[in-house]
Structures are given as C-alpha cells and as structure tokens.
C-alpha cells in the first residue's frame, strides 16, 4: 500500500491576520509620530529665523549714528516703541500686502534707561510667531527675546 503524506508549508489565516494587525498597529503608531517630528522641526526653524531677525535688528540699532535717532535699515526711532513684520526670508513686510506672508513679528520697546551723561540706552526686543497674533493679547506659538544696552554717547 502506497501511503503519501502531504505537508503544506505556510501560515494559517489567523497568523496572517494577526501579523497584518501588528504591522498596521506599528504603522499607525509611526503615523502618529510624524506630526510631532515635523512640528519640532518647524519650531527649530522658527527659533533659528527669529534669532537671525533679532541679530539683524540689533545690528541696525547699533549702526545708528549717535547724531541720529532713527536707525538706517528698519527706521526704528530710539525711544519710540515699534513693531515690524518679517517673512520667512527675513525681509520686512507689511501685513496688508496680499503678496507678503508675514511669519514673525518683532516688538521693540524702550524700557526706562538710567539718567546721566554716560548712561546706557536700554532696548527690549521680542520676536513672536505667528506674526498676526498680538502677543499683548494672545499667547503666541513661540517667541525669542533679548535685552540690549547701547552706548549712545
């Protein structure tokens, strides 16, 4: 009598379904991490750009001749609070311009400086984003701020 034994190598339907379930679960977990990564990247980008904007404005204030009260690049008058909008490329834009996309808003204020012949001039600068959020009334998504003292004598 000729007896044949057949072996069918492979996985059962239950095994395959379970494996697919595990794979799908992992993919969904991965999918959930993506926005977090992109958001972190965006935050780093914003902070780097904001730091550049700050440096540029401080350099402009520093370059203002002592005989003048108004800075040459951004037209900031010492003693008068001002805010400016910048796009992602670090250019000054006006929020009403339909072609512009303001990303950052810098608020420049002049805290009370000490009196005296050689007293420094204090300037406080804060870059916030998104640009169209007023940090005085709404908490912005992020900000970078600095405080500078200038010798204007």
């Amino acid at each position: 009598m000729n007896r044949r034994i057949h072996f069918f190598a492979g996985f059962s339907l239950v095994e395959v379904t379970l494996a697919l379930g595990v794979a799908a679960f992992c993919l969904i977990a991965l999918f959930g991490l993506l926005p977090l990564g992109v958001q972190t990247n965006q935050s780093s980008l914003s902070q780097t750009a904001a730091a550049s904007v700050l440096s540029s404005v401080v350099a402009d204030l520093r370059a203002t001749p002592k005989t003048s009260l108004t800075s040459p690049q951004y037209d900031i008058t010492f003693g008068t609070a001002k805010f400016l909008y910048f796009d992602g490329e670090g250019r000054v834009v006006t929020p009403t311009d339909p072609n512009a996309t303001p990303r950052y808003r810098i608020t420049i204020t002049f805290p009370a400086s000490p009196a005296g012949a050689f007293a420094p001039t204090f300037v406080s600068l804060k870059v916030t984003w998104p640009a169209l959020v007023d940090p005085a009334t709404t908490t912005p998504a992020g900000f970078v701020e600095t405080f500078v003292a200038f010798d204007r004598h």
């Binding site: 992109v38 990247n41 965006q42 040459p72 951004y74 000054v92």
Partner: protein, 278 residues
C-alpha cells in the same frame, strides 16, 4: 486575507506619501536653518573685525572707493585690533581681509568666502616679518593678496593666511552708511581713491551676502555659480535699505537656465556693522 493585504498595502502607501511630504518640508526647513546657522558666526566674526578697525589717518585701507569701484565680488582689507595668527611676537594689530576666491583652476576655496587674519609683529621685533606699515606704504602694496581675489601671500599652502570662513557664501558685496549725510552710498563722496579714505566718514559698513546651502550647491557647477555671481548686481548709490537684496532676489527669480531647486535654496542676507567713533 486578500482584503487584509489590500488594506495593509494602502496603509503602506499612505505612510510612504506622508513620510515623503514630511521629508520635503523638513529638508526645506533644514536648508534654511543650515544657511542661517552658517551666516550667524560669520556675521559675528565680521562684527568683531569691523568694530576693532584701526581708525587712523596714517595707515591705509583697501576698500571700495571711486578709484577702486570693485565689480562683482568685493574685496576689503584693513588693520584691526582683532586677534590674528601670530608668526612670532604678537602685537595687538592684525590685517583682516575678506574676499570670495575666484581661482577656478586649483583652489578648493573657489567661490567661497575667505578671511585673512594675519597677526603682525611689533615694529622692530623681527627682521623678516613685516609689521604694521604706515603711509605712504599701503596695505595692498605690502601684502598684495589683500587686493587679489585669488593670490595668497605665501606660496606654501600651510602658511597661507587666508582661510575659508564661508564655504557657502558665493557673493560678497558691501557699501556704506555715510556719516555726514546719513545716506547709504557705494562709497563716501570724499573717497576719490584709496589715498583719500578716512574711515571715520562711514558710520557703518553694510554687508550683503548670498548663501547657498550644500544640498543646493551640489546641483550647480562652479561655472554656474560664477555666472550667478555676475547675475547679482553691484550696489549703486541711492538704493535704499533692503533694495539691493530685492534686486538680487529679482535677478534670482528671473534665472531659468539653472535648476530651480538650487536657485530657490539661495538665501540672501544683509547686516549693518557699526564703526565706532572711538
């Protein structure tokens, strides 16, 4: 089972698309951060150099004047109290110079911003090292590399005093904020030639640079970058704040014969460097 596999395949496709899009956004952001991070220390170095520029009427400067108008990438050379590389006994004075290297044949510095920070000996300290020279001797006649966009002051590569400070910077332009008028000018009116330069006529030096990140740079050949340098116009007196960069951006936007991803990776920066009255 077929349905399960189809769902999985769909999920994989979806995730792949998402990852691709996220990667595109991240790469774009990283390019910007890369350029920003590259420029920040460069500007800080320049700020230190310009802040400590030696302001005397008996030393020379190699700067842009009516007699040396400088087309394309500019050259600048001056004495500064910024620390330099000293040969022997250090004096507090160095020669500082900036240029974009234009030597296409052999230099790894081609199309990169270079800085010279050559420390000088005290006068009389060495029989071989040249110290600070006073007028009528000039910087560029004593150290000719200051007035060159490719030459070095020593044939020995290990002794060259120019170093690459901005490998991603391919365009370097500067102009002045004139002290007397408060206007931005290509050079102050009184600067007819190098011999009439009085650095105190300038309240600030405005530096504009174009930067290309490494990922975008590999898409362009050196000759294409050289063409780009020529496409970005020089500063002309009368252009207001930000106008030079606007002109550069327009010039970049109008370029159609180079890869768009490379051109869009170019970032433009401008910084005012105060020149102290002291």
């Amino acid at each position: 089972m077929l349905v399960a596999i189809s769902v999985l395949a769909l999920l994989v496709l979806l995730v792949t698309q998402l990852i691709n899009n996220a990667a595109s956004v991240t790469i774009l952001g990283n390019k910007r951060m890369d350029a920003d991070s590259h420029v920040r220390p460069l500007f800080e170095r320049m700020a230190l150099d310009f802040a400590q520029i030696v302001k005397r009427s008996d030393v020379s400067y190699y700067v842009k004047t009516a007699g040396t108008p400088m087309t394309g990438n500019d050259l600048v050379g001056f004495y500064s109290a910024a620390e330099g590389y000293y040969p022997t006994t250090p004096s507090p004075i160095s020669i500082v110079a900036y240029r974009v290297n234009s030597n296409s044949s052999s230099s790894v510095a081609y199309n990169c911003l270079e800085r010279m920070g050559k420390g000088l000996d005290w006068n009389g300290a060495s029989a071989t090292s040249i110290p600070v020279v006073f007028l009528p001797l000039t910087i560029h006649s004593t150290w000719p590399s200051v007035a060159s966009s490719s030459a070095y002051d020593d044939t020995d590569p290990t002794k060259r005093t120019y170093e690459i400070i901005g490998p991603q910077v391919f365009r370097f332009e500067y102009y002045y904020l004139e002290k007397t008028t408060g206007s931005l000018v290509a050079y102050p009116t009184a600067w007819a030639s190098l011999s009439t330069v009085a650095i105190k006529d300038a309240a600030a030096i405005v530096v504009a640079i174009a930067v290309i990140d490494p990922k975008s740079k590999v898409l362009l050949s050196n000759s294409q970058i050289a063409t780009l340098v020529g496409s970005l116009p020089d500063y002309a007196s009368g252009l207001g704040p930000g106008k030079l960069l606007a002109q550069w951006q327009s010039a970049l936007d109008s370029i159609t014969n180079m890869p768009r991803p490379a051109i869009s990776g170019i970032r433009l920066y401008e910084r005012y460097f105060y020149i102290s009255d002291q």
